[in-house]
Amino acid sequence: MTDLPIIRAERLVKRFGRAIALDGADLTVERGQVHGFLGPNGAGKSTTIRAILGQISLTSGELEVLGMDPRRDAVAIHHRLAYVPGDVSLWPSLTGGQCLDLLAGFHGREDRARRDRLVEAFDLDLSKRARTYSKGNRQKVALVAALALDVDLYVFDEPTSGLDPLMEVTFQQAVRELADRGATVLLSSHILDEVESLCSHVTILRSGRTISAGSLEDLRRATTTTISATFADEEAVRALVERIDGAEAVADASGIHLTAKVERERVAAAVGAVAAADPLSLVVRPPSLDELFLEHYAGAAADDGAAR
């Protein structure tokens, strides 16, 4: 049982009429992972999540959640799952507290003390009518409703898009607690800092296809390190640009700046060569997550451009 993935999605395809939302997406989330789910807008993240929730039927592909069929066994799965959508809409005429009660009622059980703690932590006024809540406050209600459940799998679809930085920290704290408890989390997010600080694993989707999946470490390893150096001597730079693939030089008043993006295996050699040329300054930067994603996202833009 423990070795079964919590979510196993293979070659998911989903068409809405003529529009293709998923085009062979794969996603594997193992027990206990905090799994980041990334991709440009329209990549198919929400569609995948809605398939996981059994809210849509797939055109083709295999999908198992907690070892069950998300369509047929929706009720059994949902007993062990909590979900927060990116765009929360509540019952306008009910108060925040009533909305929480209503949602908890479906599960039949609720850890009241935990809920109270969360309400406190998220600084939520439950006596207000949902009509008067801001987007962030509606989001907080949905977060509290989900986090107050003690379940195996938490699914968040851009859950912090309306939260202020303080609440964002509260959310991250809550997710860490879930992870400590051994729960599994699938977190679709655009906030890279959030993903970087929370997630052990990520899956990146683009145009309905999985383009990258694995642990953050592996992913970092597969991308380039940036070497930047400033020289006084033009001759040395020219030699380096010839020697190192992907190196570029720009001159300005403060000197000649060399920038090179180098794959992991060639970092040592490249740094050695640059250092040997006696630069005025030398900076070696490991791949940041931002760059990592920009690389992938930019690919998506190029793809779309080609398709049109």
Partner: protein, 548 residues
């Protein structure tokens, strides 16, 4: 199914206003009608005039009640109620069904709910319960109103011939089945349509079509009104099935069972369709549209028109179809009127085309005003969904934006009424060619006069809606209430002997029964001034108040 009860409770709680509003409005109408009829016709002997008047195929039985049984109090009440209750209950069924399913889904609440341990179809089954309860309550309250004045629950009144198994209960059952049939229509179109808005439009179009066909069938004397105890062509629409039940004349169980079976079938169909559909998407997939908008869409007027044109065109088609039906059948209407002298005496009308003209144009005015108020309601929705705030963040003056939307609503309502007038005049004139005898009382100028006079109450109702929404940002329910009340007074006033003050102040009847009587020009002028004042007031308030 897991979660059905909870879904039902959630809907009942969050939608209790609309779930109660329809039954209570219909109950108020029923009580008012029942009490007045009882006062007026308590003596069975006095009912002969009413019955004789309504004998078969006249204008009243085409638009209103067609089931006969007029020797009984219950039959008379049912007959008076029909003109309001038949369209209203059908509309209630569609609106309640869509509001409880697709509108919840469009808002995103169903997504939140179905992520809980809830069966896939539970939100739909959970919607059946409150909607059905609301419609059953509606029927029960109407039955209650009837028994209040002494209509027997089961059987005929003492000493008056009538079906022993008919009575108020039979009427209530028929009304409930009729309402459930249309809530079934609502549930089915909610599964098919792209979104709640188009589901509502499609559902209302089905109601309009069924009602128009029924008016045509009855007007031509081909339905239950034919008088030979046959159902005739009434079987082709659900409205006709309701007519055919005739709980105070025949109490036919077959059409009642057909209504109930069809209602059940539609509900089951909705359940089957739900199993084949993705949450948030209709079975009819959304089509991609143009990637760019014409320049004029970026102007207040262009935007207002773009948002309004679909629904205004729908109303226009419906109203024009009604006008054409009335106009082209004019000889038949007049012939029927001439056979019912007693009826005309009762209503103080002549047996000529002017009565038909008045009826047609008043009905068209009512529908045109509904179209306009509907647009103002859409404006309130724009504000509620914060789209209005987004538009206002652009360099657009508030008054300009507001005036554009209200202007389109007013112009749309006026346009619909004018189109109805022209189409009725043209078709009526054409139908009466070669029938000089009947032609005298019909004239194109008369129709145009009636149209022009009725523009005042139509625009007043829309303007009041605009003032309310402009000032509060909320839905223009007071205008809907006033529209309902003035429709009730207009149609039921003469028959029910309502106090003159009511008839003289309700917007639609205050301007006079044109062209039967001369217009009350003072009222027309006053309404026009009030309408203008309401528009200005709404604009001023809107310019100053908070936009959430």
């Amino acid at each position: 199914m897991t979660g059905t009860l909870r879904c039902a409770l959630a809907l009942a709680r969050s939608g209790r206003m609309r779930l109660l509003a329809w039954p209570l409005a219909m109950a108020a109408l029923a009580v008012m009608t029942a009490v007045s009829i009882d006062e007026f016709y308590a003596e069975p002997a006095s009912r002969a005039a009413y019955a004789a008047a309504l004998e078969m195929a006249d204008v009243m039985t085409a638009l209103g009640g067609a089931s006969g049984g007029l020797a009984q109090l219950g039959g008379m009440i049912a007959n008076e109620l029909a003109i309001m209750v038949l369209p209203a209950v059908a509309i209630a069924g569609v609106m309640l069904a869509v509001a409880s399913t697709r509108a919840e889904e469009d808002a995103g609440r169903t997504e939140l709910v179905t992520a809980r341990p809830v069966a896939h179809r539970a939100p739909l089954l959970g919607a059946f319960a409150p909607v059905t309860a609301s419609l059953l309550l509606l029927a029960a309250l109407v039955v209650g109103a009837m028994t209040l004045v002494g209509v027997p629950l089961i059987g005929a009144e003492d000493g008056i011939a009538g079906p022993a198994d008919g009575g108020a209960l039979g009427y209530g059952l028929a009304l409930a089945a009729y309402g459930l049939l249309f809530s079934g229509v609502g549930f089915v179109v909610a599964e098919l349509a792209r979104d709640a808005r188009s589901a509502r439009m499609t559902g209302l179009a089905v109601v309009a079509l069924a009602y128009l066909v029924r008016v045509g069938v009855n007007g031509a004397g081909r339905g239950v009104t034919a008088g030979d105890d046959a159902v005739g062509l009434s079987w082709i629409t659900p409205v006709g099935w309701f007519d055919a039940v005739a709980p105070f004349a025949h109490m036919r169980w077959a059409p009642l069972l057909v209504l109930a079976a069809a209602a059940l079938g539609l509900h089951l169909l909705a359940v089957v369709l739900r199993g084949r559909r993705d949450l948030g998407a209709g079975l009819i997939a959304a089509r991609p549209g143009p990637v760019s908008a014409p320049r004029r869409l970026g102007t207040p007027l262009g935007l207002a028109w773009r948002l309004a044109r679909g629904s205004l065109l729908g109303w226009l088609l419906g109203v024009v179809a009604l006008a054409a039906l009335m106009g082209s059948q004019l000889p038949a209407w007049i012939g029927a009127l001439q056979q019912s002298e007693a009826m005309l005496e009762l209503m103080g009308m002549e047996a000529d085309a002017s009565a038909v003209t008045n009826m047609t144009m008043a009905f068209s005015a009512l529908l045109a005003a509904s179209a306009g108020i509907g647009r103002i309601g859409a404006l309130a929705e724009e504000e509620d969904s914060e789209r209005l705030a987004l538009t206002l963040s652009r360099p657009v003056g508030r008054v300009r934006l507001w005036s554009a939307s209200v202007g389109v609503a007013l112009a749309g309502a006026a346009g619909i009424l004018i189109a109805a007038g022209l189409v009725y005049a043209a078709t009526g004139w054409g139908a009466l060619q070669g029938d000089a005898g009947k032609l005298d009382a019909f004239s194109v100028p008369d129709t145009i006069l009636a149209t022009a006079v009725l523009l005042a109450p139509t625009l007043l109702l829309v303007a009041l809606a605009a003032a309310w929404t402009g000032a509060t940002g909320g839905s223009p329910w007071p205008a809907w209430a006033l529209l309902g009340a003035s429709a009730a007074i207009l149609f039921l006033g003469p028959g029910l002997d309502l106090p003159d003050v009511l008839i003289d102040t309700a917007p639609l009847s205050a301007v006079g029964t044109v062209p039967v009587d001369d217009p009350v020009w003072g009222a027309v002028a006053l309404e026009a001034v009030l309408a203008a004042a309401a528009v200005v007031l709404g604009a001023l308030r809107f310019a100053r108040r908070d936009v959430p």
